[in-house]
């Protein structure tokens, strides 16, 4: 059974990477955002925070039903972050032995995190994406490790004179045709690395103590049918089950911390006498849980509710106009967008120009890890609507290509103190050359033999290609501004 589980884990981790690398290859069969839309934590938080329902969330029903029937199969078998931790533990502790017994105080944290996420959502803020294991894994892999690997492999191939290897790897999508880079993406790596490092202290430390999705599934699994049963008449008290358990389900007195069980079947396989089984009947073993006390819950509730205004108001958000905050195409209202955005990073990964970048705290703490378009890095490609297709929560609406091509992300403005014809009296017009809309939004007038560009604002869609290609170094001489300052 352990081997079967490992195969399933490997398959789902591979699927996770496959969907990450080839978002459009498998779209027809499996949606690229499968792991996000089937995630009940993100679904619940987004539904509550945005007071709206996105059809794709129906997929999360599968996980919910699965958990009610079978317990936390998701955690033990499917979760890419869990699998990553298992692999890491396998490498660091080939002969794993559970030595650090459960700390009931640590274990309660995950319920507090879950409570905070849901309460904050009730007050209209969606912060699940900061704590959800799938988004953490995706951002770590796709936004931080992938660009690093891309850079490393290209560098190695180039320096070894094996440049011819790069292009076939490009073609099959392992390497990127550009050098992708995401702002501050080291943070995503550090979070991932931190989660892996604490497994040195306790295997699956994150799952035991912190994971809000784990907490949600633990609550759901209270009524499950597939239970751990210790056949006491067979038990020789060898305590092998305790030793192999990664989430420390077995207490000293053989009472069970049921909700902690991730159904990994290690105990069942290792039990000397087949005393431990997973069965569909509940035996009379004593069961304990780590649900926080009422007082703890009340204090946590109060703090979470307080944190909403703090999140939304105490980080200089009123700096609005000076902030470059171009949201992906299709996003109209900032508040609504942030309540739906799961901070998963899908849109940034599928953006072909690398123009979609994660915000840090530039636009307030609440907007952390949400995407903005940075035209100087990459424009919004005229023939592309990937981000809307990939967004799991409808924060970026899925638009037909034709509609997206007419969507106004912002508007370009000339900075005549920097624009070459105005400032240096030299020829340029690069922006007009590149402008991709059929009726060019940039035209020019000729005065004394010199062409001066100007913008026809009705035609500009704010794609930012002009800003990207502007030959003025540093701050471009034409820049896209949001049409309306975000209200927050």
């Amino acid at each position: 059974m352990i081997y079967f589980r490992r195969i399933v884990q490997a398959i789902f981790l591979a699927l996770f990477f496959l969907l990450m690398l080839y978002p459009d290859l498998v779209t027809s069969i499996i949606p690229a955002n499968l792991f996000f839309i089937s995630n009940p934590l993100l679904a619940i938080s987004t539904i509550i925070a945005s007071r709206s329902f996105h059809m794709a969330f129906i997929a999360s029903g599968v996980i919910i039903i699965m958990t009610i029937f079978l317990g936390r199969i998701f955690c033990g078998w499917l979760c890419p972050l869990g699998t990553t931790m298992d692999i890491f533990t396998k490498i660091t502790h080939p002969k794993y032995k559970n030595t650090n017994p459960a700390n009931p105080y640590l274990r309660q944290i995950k319920y507090f995190v879950l409570l905070a996420i849901i309460l904050v959502a009730v007050f209209g803020a969606n912060i699940a994406g900061w704590f959800d294991p799938i988004t953490i894994a995706f951002k770590g892999y796709a936004l931080s490790l992938y660009p690093a690997m891309d850079y490393l492999l290209k560098g190695v191939f180039t320096n070894l004179g094996l440049k011819s290897f790069i292009s076939p790897l490009n073609d099959i999508g392992i390497l990127d045709t550009h050098s992708v880079l995401f702002h501050n993406s080291i943070i995503f790596f550090l979070i991932l690395a931190g989660i892996l490092l604490v497994t040195l202290y306790q295997a699956r430390f994150w799952c035991r103590n912190l994971c809000p999705l784990g907490a949600l599934l633990a609550l759901l699994s209270k009524w499950r049918f597939l239970n751990l049963v210790i056949g006491r008449h067979l038990c020789t008290e060898c305590r092998r089950c305790q030793a192999v358990c990664k989430t420390d389900v077995f207490n000293e007195d053989f009472s069970l911390n049921d909700e902690e069980c991730i159904q990994c079947f290690a105990c069942v396989t290792k039990c000397a006498k087949s005393g431990v089984t997973l069965g569909f009947s509940k035996d009379k073993s004593k069961r304990t849980s780590f649900l926080p006390s009422r007082r703890g819950l009340l204090i946590a509730s109060g703090l979470s509710i307080l944190s909403v205004p703090l999140l939304k108001r105490s980080f200089g958000l009123k700096l609005g106009p000076s902030l470059p905050r171009l949201r992906p195409p299709g996003v109209s209202r900032e508040e609504e967008f942030l309540s739906k955005c799961q901070r998963c990073g899908e849109c940034m990964k599928v953006c072909p120009t690398n123009g979609l970048q994660p915000l840090l705290a530039e636009s307030g703490l609440y907007a952390m890890f949400s995407p903005i378009l940075v035209p100087r890095i990459g424009n919004c490609r005229y023939y592309c609507n990937n981000c809307g297709q990939a967004c799991p929560s409808g924060a970026i609406p899925a638009m037909e290509l034709g509609d997206k091509q007419e969507w106004k992300i912002g508007r370009a403005y000339f900075d005549t103190t920097r624009c070459i014809p105005y400032a240096n009296k030299e020829h340029c017009l690069t922006c007009e050359e590149f402008c991709p809309v059929p009726e060019k939004a940039i035209e020019h007038i000729v005065k004394d033999g010199l062409e001066y560009p100007y913008l026809v604002k009705e035609r500009c869609i704010g794609c930012g290609l002009c800003e990207k290609v502007c030959p003025v170094q540093g701050l471009a001489a034409i820049r896209v501004s949001p049409l309306k300052d975000a209200e927050l």
Binding site: N170, T177, P352, T353, R381, Y382, Y383, I420, E426, H427, C428, L429, T430, E432, E433, F434, C435, P436, V437, P438, E439, K440, H444, E451, V469, C470, P471
Partner: protein, 325 residues
């Protein structure tokens, strides 16, 4: 392996030092020699192109099928065999710079390029490469412009140039007015025959983009930096690397909103192919095409190239052979 003792270390160090010094010296010498070579070749080039021996010939063929008119134009110039030798390497330089479907006339018609490529293979070319430095995403450009489909199993190699300086070689421009040297793609410098296959279209900066302007796509300099005094800079580049043959695709022509276009209303069906050994002559003729109704002197690239003696601009000094299919 033996450990080094101090004496050996010093010895090898001194040998290494001498080696480095001489290699550096040799390198300096090598660089000293280069301009002479470049000058020689430039003189050679101007000797054949500058003297008004025979009038340069421009073949203009009109017809409904891109492949047929291309073949006919090549036929008028004496067939591709004149330019492509057996076992030679041929580089084709179409315009695939923008991600627009070919019907919008922002990029060279792939059928015309394929016809030329096939002819090159027929003439015995060992290798045919398409070299281009793309403005938008290279992969998408090839897909959207129809090259990926057209060139399946054609045996033609695609070279997508990037910003990597290793892909280019610096070439001196002894007669350059704006540029003293320029980075040009190695693939182009090392080939035996270089065939330029631009599309004729409107261009915001250059008025029209034709054969001379098409050379932008083999240059390793950030193209944005060439936009000041573009005409002269392009002419300088032409003096450094002259295509052996220029075939202008005027089958569909973009009249407004160039070079990217996008509006089907801006496309005019001219159904012509213009071919010549003289890039300037071909460009100059293309300026006069009906939807443009310009002259060579109106387009800065053509005028500057003519001023530098790189080709003939006056249509009455050009032998124009027109044919209708």
């Amino acid at each position: 392996m033996k450990d080094l003792n101090r004496r050996q270390f010093l010895k090898s160090l001194s040998v290494l030092g001498v080696g480095v010094a001489t290699s550096n010296y040799l390198k300096v010498r090598g660089q000293d020699q280069k301009p002479d070579d470049a000058k020689k070749s430039a003189e050679g080039g101007s000797a054949s192109g500058g003297k008004p021996e025979p009038k340069p010939m421009v073949a203009v063929v009109e017809g409904n099928k891109p492949a047929e008119i291309t073949l006919a134009a090549l036929g008028i110039l004496g067939g591709i065999d004149k330019f492509v030798k057996k076992d030679s390497v041929v580089v084709l330089k179409p315009n695939i710079a923008w991600e627009k479907p070919m019907e919008l006339a922002a990029t060279t018609n792939p059928e015309i390029v394929l016809t030329v490529a096939k002819e090159c293979f027929k003439a015995g070319a060992k290798k045919v490469k398409i070299v281009e430095r793309v403005c938008n995403d290279p992969k998408k450009c090839f897909q959207i412009c129809g090259f990926e489909n057209t060139f399946q199993k054609s045996g033609v190699e695609f070279v997508l140039l990037t910003n990597d300086p290793k892909e280019y070689k610096e070439v001196k421009i002894p007669n350059g007015k704006e540029l003293q040297s320029i980075l040009i793609a190695k693939d182009v410098l090392e080939c035996d025959t270089f065939i330029n296959i631009p599309i004729a279209k409107h261009h915001a900066t250059a008025k029209l983009t034709l054969g001379i302007k098409n050379l932008m796509g083999i240059v390793g300099v950030d193209r944005r930096l060439l936009h000041h005094n573009l005409g002269q800079k392009m002419a300088d580049i032409l003096s450094a690397i002259k295509p052996h043959l220029t075939i202008i695709d005027a089958y569909r022509v973009l009249v407004r909103n160039g070079p990217t276009g996008g509006n089907p209303k801006d496309v005019a069906a001219v159904r012509k192919v213009i071919a010549s050994v003289d890039t300037v002559a071909a460009d100059s003729y293309a300026c006069t095409l009906k939807p443009f109704s310009l002259e060579g002197k109106n387009v800065s690239c053509v005028q500057a190239a003519y001023d530098m003696g790189l080709g003939e601009m006056n249509l009455d000094k050009i032998d124009i052979v027109e044919k209708k299919l």
